[in-house]
């Protein structure tokens, strides 16, 4: 409290003197800091230009190493609004307050670096940092949450290093400028992100402090890529239900407890050893990865964003590094210290010790001991803990509070000088400058592209490496978007050569996952399907060179599984393709789910067709309270008895075991009928197997085609890319335009040239009106006649020419070459055509001319300017 009071008093005193001192101080400052002159003038003076030149030369020198730097001469300041080029009186006042604050601070803490309070903006005007924040709520829903918003900022801007890594920049540009050039240092990043977060309702602050080298250089090569991190499996805490009252007791355990203990001990020992070895290895690895010690550790200036808990359901305060868009807990090792922080309302200096990085900092901005504020604004940041012994001072405090509140009004932070932040939808979609961004992580590299930039729809590629130097590729993951074949993700494992394609719903063959090593048929592959999109309810088809396994669900025949064994292909002299020469099927195994409508003894669970052995094995479902299942085996070999008659059915052709023997199944008739059905079923199954093979071929062919073609789909709502809709829209526009032209034409004033001859501003007399009308009509008549004459003249000319040519032809007919003759003939036909057309036009003109004349007359009669006068006359 003491400190606070003192400070307030000081402030008040300072303020009183301020007005008088102002001019003097300004001069002093100019002398003290010639490099950063304060400018109140809104126009450029000669002196300013010189300064500017000087500054530019200062900045350009380090930019030799860093060609990306955004220097001031690149910025076009001519179109910026006046608020950028000058300070309002309120801002002036604020600058004075800030100056005073800074003086007091340097007086109180002489060993700390000067504050970052009012850097120059792009027009070389000092602007207070809080007013540079322009809280804006962006119209994109994606920018409403902090994580996506931070990701956007980090993607959208290109990072430029600070000119001096040990000092805050001398210039701080407005967010609009930064957005226009898509470049900036960590301060620019933070200001933009902070503006957007505050606009979205977060309690966000820009922090000026010190960061690690990796942080300042946006170096993620020692970080694990977030894309490679597997989502933590939620460990299901299986709640062991208390044993029920009548749960049976387990049988007595007759194993030796001692032996078990010994075994357990041995295993534990082994495990411990292994653990130790692993840990050692890990340590070794960590050692390798460890960064080189940074000589400037703890001195590198960095700017990031702090989000305090409370608003927008943020449970805990955290940092966001705007360069990478990642969030960190406030205890993170990368953040080494905080000088000050600010939002659009106020500015705070950190009065806490940062010997242990930011780990011990308490972000209670209402605590004046820990955080020295600049404006005693109407913040809610009151001291969190109200101490008991303060009570005696309460009355005084109240009085002070009142006074303070009075002051607050005059101390309100002026509104931002920055224009509203705007991001065009195109820029928003393109995101990264030029639509491409590459980030290097530890053992991984991420490349990002804007949608539709790559013509195969590639959006993102993650390459994982085996070693730190990124030479041996481990696996590649590629994310796609807007593809016509619905390919979403391609996962290539370089070590095993396994490729896995993931598809979104909507593939023509309802493919969901396709994992394969080669696109050749009859190799190891697994295809998974969206079973609801398939008529046959196929979920998965696994293939090896010799087998094919299919899994089904939700079928009306309760089939759940089919396994096919293939034998070696029979060699054929002709060309052997999988289509023309299918592999012989050796065995088909089919499993069925329980059909609740049948009794268990009649419901087949497994059906095996041994095709070479001509045997069919059936296994039935197990009854509810049984442990054995009925079985039946049929020999479908047809035999001939001694008399040469075909044996239809003998008891030894069917071997069966029944759990509960039934009468009717013993009958030969029943067995015969069952076998007939099975024979038919076998045929169907073989056909199915063949069809499955064909389908695989078809899918492979389709996939190859799709990969070559890689067509992209365009949403019907995407008006810019959708050709059809664009054509339609353009057509609509054209129609509108034509309509407009027509309207203009109808409004053409026939009288205008004649009215212009008359003295302006006078009312027409009747005589004048009549004359006007007559003149107009006669003029029109003349025009019609002229036109007729013109057509006539052309007609005559053409005819004459034709006659001439004909004459010439008749004279020279004998000597002409065939080519010339052809030429002549074609000329004749063309000329005839022209003449005919001219004739038609003339006739048409003759027909229409009187009509047109009458129409004009009528129109003139109805003309409001002439109507009254002419009517009387008429």
């Amino acid at each position: 409290m003491e400190v606070l009071k003192e400070k307030v008093e000081e402030e008040e005193a300072a303020e009183r003197e301020e007005a008088a001192e102002r001019a003097e101080r300004a001069k002093m400052e100019k002398m003290m800091r010639p490099g950063e002159p304060r400018r109140d003038e809104s126009f450029m003076t000669q002196e300013m230009l010189r300064d500017l030149e000087k500054k530019v030369s200062e900045i350009v020198i380090p930019s030799v190493e860093e060609p990306l730097i955004l220097t001031q001469d690149l910025i076009d300041t001519s179109n910026l609004p006046p608020s950028y080029k000058s300070n309002s009186t309120k801002e002036e006042h604020l600058l004075q307050v800030a100056d005073n604050y800074s003086h007091q601070y340097s007086h109180l803490c002489p060993d700390r670096v000067p504050l970052f309070l009012y850097p120059l903006n792009e027009c070389n005007v000092p602007k207070f940092v809080s007013t540079t924040i322009r809280p804006t709520l962006m119209p994109y829903p994606e920018l409403y949450n902090w994580d996506t918003c931070a990701q956007f900022v980090s993607d959208f801007l290109t990072m430029v290093l600070l000119p001096d890594p040990l000092k805050p920049p001398s210039h701080l540009y407005s967010s609009t400028t930064v957005l226009r050039y898509q470049k900036g240092n960590s301060f620019d990043f933070s200001m933009l992100l902070c503006s957007m977060l505050i606009g979205a309702g977060y309690d966000a602050y820009c922090v000026n402090g010190y960061g690690s080298q990796d942080l300042c250089h946006m170096d993620l090569s020692r970080e694990v890529c977030p894309l490679t991190m597997k989502p933590k499996e939620i460990i299901k805490s299986e709640e062991k239900q208390p044993p029920k009252k009548y749960a049976i007791k387990p049988p007595r355990d007759l194993n030796s407890k001692f032996e078990q203990d010994q075994e357990l001990k041995k295993q534990l020992q082994l495990k411990a050893e292994e653990e130790k070895r692993r840990r050692e290895e890990e340590e070794k690895l960590l050692e390798e990865e460890k960064e080189k010690p940074d000589p400037l550790h703890g001195l590198r200036v960095h700017c990031w964003v702090l989000v305090l808990s409370g608003k927008r359901e943020v449970p805990e305060s955290f940092f966001i590094d705007p360069l990478t868009g990642r969030s960190y807990p406030t205890q993170d090792d990368h953040f080494l210290g905080i000088e000050s922080l600010w939002n659009h309302r106020n500015y705070w200096i950190n009065m806490q010790d940062c010997w242990n990085c930011c780990k011990d900092l308490i972000f209670d901005l209402g605590d004046p001991v820990k955080w020295e504020y600049m404006l005693p604004g109407p913040e809610k940041h009151r001291l969190a803990l109200s101490e008991e012994d303060d009570e005696t001072l309460n009355d005084e405090d109240d009085v002070e509070d009142l006074e303070k509140e009075d002051e607050e009004k005059s101390f309100d932070m002026p509104s931002s000088w920055v224009m509203q932040i705007q991001i065009s939808p195109e820029a928003f979609e393109t995101r990264c400058p030029n639509g491409k961004k590459v980030i290097q992580y530890k053992k991984a590299q991420v490349e990002k592209w804007a949608p539709y930039l790559n013509n195969n729809g590639l959006m993102c590629r993650l390459t994982t490496y085996q070693d730190l130097e990124c030479t041996k590729i481990l696996e590649i993951k590629e994310w796609y978007q807007n593809r016509e074949d619905m390919l979403e993700l391609k996962h290539m494992n370089k070590t095993t050569g396994l490729c896995i394609d993931y598809f979104k719903p909507g593939h023509p063959q309802a493919l969901r996952v396709h994992s394969y090593k080669s696109m050749q048929p009859e190799m190891d592959r697994v295809m998974e399907f969206y079973e609801s999109a398939r008529v046959d309810g196929l979920i998965k088809r696994e293939e090896t060179p010799k087998t094919m396994t299919e899994y089904y669900t939700g079928r009306s025949d309760f089939l759940s599984y089919r396994h096919i064994n293939f034998g070696p292909r029979v060699k054929k002299p002709t060309q052997c393709t999988a289509e023309s020469n299918p592999r012989p099927i050796v065995k088909i195994t089919e499993c069925f789910h329980r059909n609740p409508e049948k009794s268990a003894d009649e419901d087949v669970a497994e059906r095996v067709f041994l095709i070479n052995e001509e045997r069919i094995q059936l296994r039935y479902h197990c009854r509810e309270d049984h442990i054995t299942t009925s079985k039946r085996e049929f020999l479908r070999r047809t035999e001939v008895d001694s008399k040469g008659n075909k044996v239809i059915m003998t008891p030894d052709m069917c071997i069966s075991f029944e759990v509960e023997p039934m009468e009717h199944t013993k009958k030969l008739l029943y067995q015969y009928e069952t076998m007939m059905q099975l024979k038919a079923a076998e045929k169907v199954s073989r056909h199915q197997a063949w069809e499955s093979e064909l389908e695989v071929l078809e899918i492979l062919k389709l996939r190859e085609e799709e990969d070559e073609e890689h067509a992209l789909t365009i949403s019907i709502y995407d008006t810019k890319r959708n050709e059809k809709s664009r054509e339609y829209r353009e057509a609509m526009e054209r129609v509108l335009h034509e309509e407009h032209l027509r309207q203009v034409e109808t409004q053409l004033d026939y009288l205008a040239p004649f009215l212009a001859q008359l003295p302006p501003g006078e009312k027409l007399t009747r005589w004048q009106a009549i004359r006007l009308k007559d003149e107009c009509l006669s003029d029109f008549k003349q025009r019609l006649i002229d036109k007729a004459n013109l057509i006539q003249a052309r007609f005559e000319k053409e005819t004459q020419e034709l006659q001439k040519k004909q004459q010439w032809y008749q004279e020279n007919q004998v000597t002409l070459t065939p080519e010339d003759e052809d030429l002549y003939l074609s000329y004749c036909s063309q000329a005839m055509f022209r003449i005919r057309i001219l004739e038609q036009r003339l006739n048409r003109h003759k027909e229409l001319a009187p009509l047109k004349y009458l129409a004009l007359e009528e129109k003139l009669y109805k003309d409001p300017r002439l109507m009254d006068l002419v009517k009387v006359y008429a």
């Binding site: 029920k244 009548y246 309270d625 442990i627 054995t628 059915m649 075991f657 008739l669 009928e673």
Partner: protein, 523 residues
């Protein structure tokens, strides 16, 4: 319409006719040869056709237990009879006969398609049990009453109806009437019903239909209520406290008690009775609620027990299945190895190995089963103890409450006696003001008479209470013994079944192996 008797001798359904029909309509070609070899049992026949046989009487069909389709059309049948056993019948064709009344179809609950075309039926009736009926053909009959069709409303599945050729079809509004009253019908007289016409008919008969519907609804509601009441009573009976949730017991005490009723005319007795009744009913209600609670407890106990038993058995089954599956896998391999082996000594060795395997499987399965039996036995014993305890507590508490009833009765008795003696004294002294009915006055002749009367009333009351108590106690005890018996019995049956199953399986395996051996030796 119907053929005359004298044209042809009526035939009787006899064995030969049936056999012939079955043979003719049974399987053909190769299957037919097999069928001939083996013969076909009547109970395996699903469909039978006996048309144009001049049959007069349906008879001898009881063997066709599983018959689903029966055609008896174009005969001279006069009565529907002898079909009671054919409960699986779905399709019955009795068209072109001489049937006059619908009868004898009450057991055919699965019937979906019934044809009585061209008969002499004048009234649709006796079809109540045919709830699945979908197609009903009643054309060319004598049905003349339009209102008779309302009877068909009860068949919720009926979609096709034919009535053409009946006198009612001549009525003007015949079609409209049917459309309106049978709105679920799709086909009438071989034609699809037009939706529009249906709508029209509905509007036309709106009023009467609404009334009918209302009546049906009321009936339905009443039936439901009755059913709910019955269910409730059933539940109470399960708890052995039926009719204790009111003054039923009290009323029954006074129902047969003439003296008691007479004595209630005495001054002051009415009030006494009122108080007595209130207290008595409260105790009854206590018993009732306690009984319900106990019933709930018993139910939970039983449910938990059953669940645990099931779980244990299920787990055991799974283990058994797993063991068998493992064995079968190995066994199959062994068998095929034996088949391929040519060396006789090795074959024998392998066969011995196999039979050892089978033996081992048998032992494993039996051990599992014995283990389960032991475990279950223990659990059942625990449950038995618990349930007997529960019942004991219940009986004890109910007896306590009943004792309260008796106390109340004794108390009431004393009071009544006192009043009676007072009244007697008053009467003897001639001081009584009120008028008493003569029958009551007759009791007050001397002290013995009145004391006897009051005593008799008291005895009746006590008897009723005792009876009720006995009923309850016997009921619950019987239930308990039955339950425990049943559990033991079920467990024994289960065990027998399982042992039999295991034996059967291993026997089969062994015999298969022996067969193989035998076959090999021949080879």
């Amino acid at each position: 319409m119907s053929r005359m008797y004298d044209l042809m001798e009526p035939k009787v359904i006899d064995d030969d006719m049936l056999k012939l029909a079955v043979m003719e309509q049974g399987p053909q070609e190769e299957a037919g040869q097999l069928a001939k070899q083996e013969g076909i049992l009547f109970k395996d026949v699903l469909s039978l056709q006996l048309d144009f046989q001049n049959i007069l009487r349906i008879d001898n069909l009881w063997q066709f237990e599983n018959l689903q389709k029966l055609q008896l059309n174009n005969n001279i049948i006069e009565r529907i009879e002898g079909l009671e056993n054919l409960i699986h019948l779905i399709w019955l064709d009795l068209s072109f006969n001489n049937i006059e009344t619908i009868e004898g179809l009450d057991t055919l609950v699965n019937l979906e398609d019934l044809s009585l075309f061209n008969n002499r039926i004048s009234r649709i009736d006796s079809l109540d049990s045919l709830v699945k009926l979908q197609v009903l053909s009643l054309g060319n009959n004598q049905i003349s009453n339009l209102m008779n069709l309302i009877y068909l409303r009860r068949f919720k599945c009926l979609r096709t109806l034919s009535l053409s050729g009946n006198p009612i079809t001549e009525a003007e509004e015949y079609k409209m009437f049917i459309h309106a009253y049978l709105p679920d019908l799709v086909y009438l007289d071989f034609r699809r019903i037009d939706e529009q016409v249906k709508e029209l008919a509905k509007i036309k008969h709106q009023f009467s239909i609404d009334e009918l519907k209302h009546r049906e609804n009321v009936m339905e509601l009443r039936a439901e209520e009755e059913k709910a009441k019955k269910d409730m009573l059933e539940e109470h009976k399960l708890a052995f406290i039926e009719y204790l949730n009111g003054s039923f017991l009290f009323d029954s005490m006074y129902a047969d008690d003439t003296e008691g009723n007479k004595l209630s005319y005495l001054p002051g007795v009415n009030e006494l009775l009122e108080v007595y009744k209130d207290k008595f009913v409260i105790i009854c209600l206590n018993i009732f609620e306690y009984g319900l609670k106990q019933q709930e407890k018993r139910k939970i106990e039983l449910d938990t027990f059953n669940e645990c038993m099931l779980e244990a058995i299920h787990e055991n089954q799974e283990q058994g299945k797993f063991k068998i599956a493992k064995f079968e896998e190995k066994h199959m391999l062994n068998l095929s190895a034996i088949r391929e082996e040519t060396d006789l000594p090795t074959i024998e060795k392998k066969i011995v190995e196999c039979s050892e395997d089978i033996n081992e499987l048998f032992n494993v399965l039996m051990t599992l089963e014995m283990q389960l039996v032991e475990q279950l036995e223990e659990t059942i014993n625990i449950f038995e103890r618990n349930i007997i305890d529960l019942v004991g507590i219940f009986i004890e508490n109910v007896q306590g409450l009943m004792a309260q009833c008796r106390d109340l009765e004794n108390h009431h008795h004393e009071k009544l006696l006192e009043i009676s003696i007072n009244t007697l004294e008053k009467i003897l002294k001639g001081e009584l003001d009120e008028d008493l009915p003569d029958s009551v006055r007759a009791l007050f002749v001397d002290k013995d008479t009145i004391v006897n009367a009051v005593g008799a009333s008291h005895d009746i009351h006590l008897l009723k209470i005792d009876n009720r108590e006995d009923e309850l106690v016997t009921g619950i005890n019987t239930w308990c013994t039955h339950l425990v018996d049943k559990i033991h019995r079920d467990e024994i049956t289960r065990n027998r079944k399982r042992v039999k199953e295991i034996n059967q399986y291993t026997d089969h395996m062994q015999s298969e192996l022996d067969n193989l051996e035998f076959g090999d030796i021949i080879d």
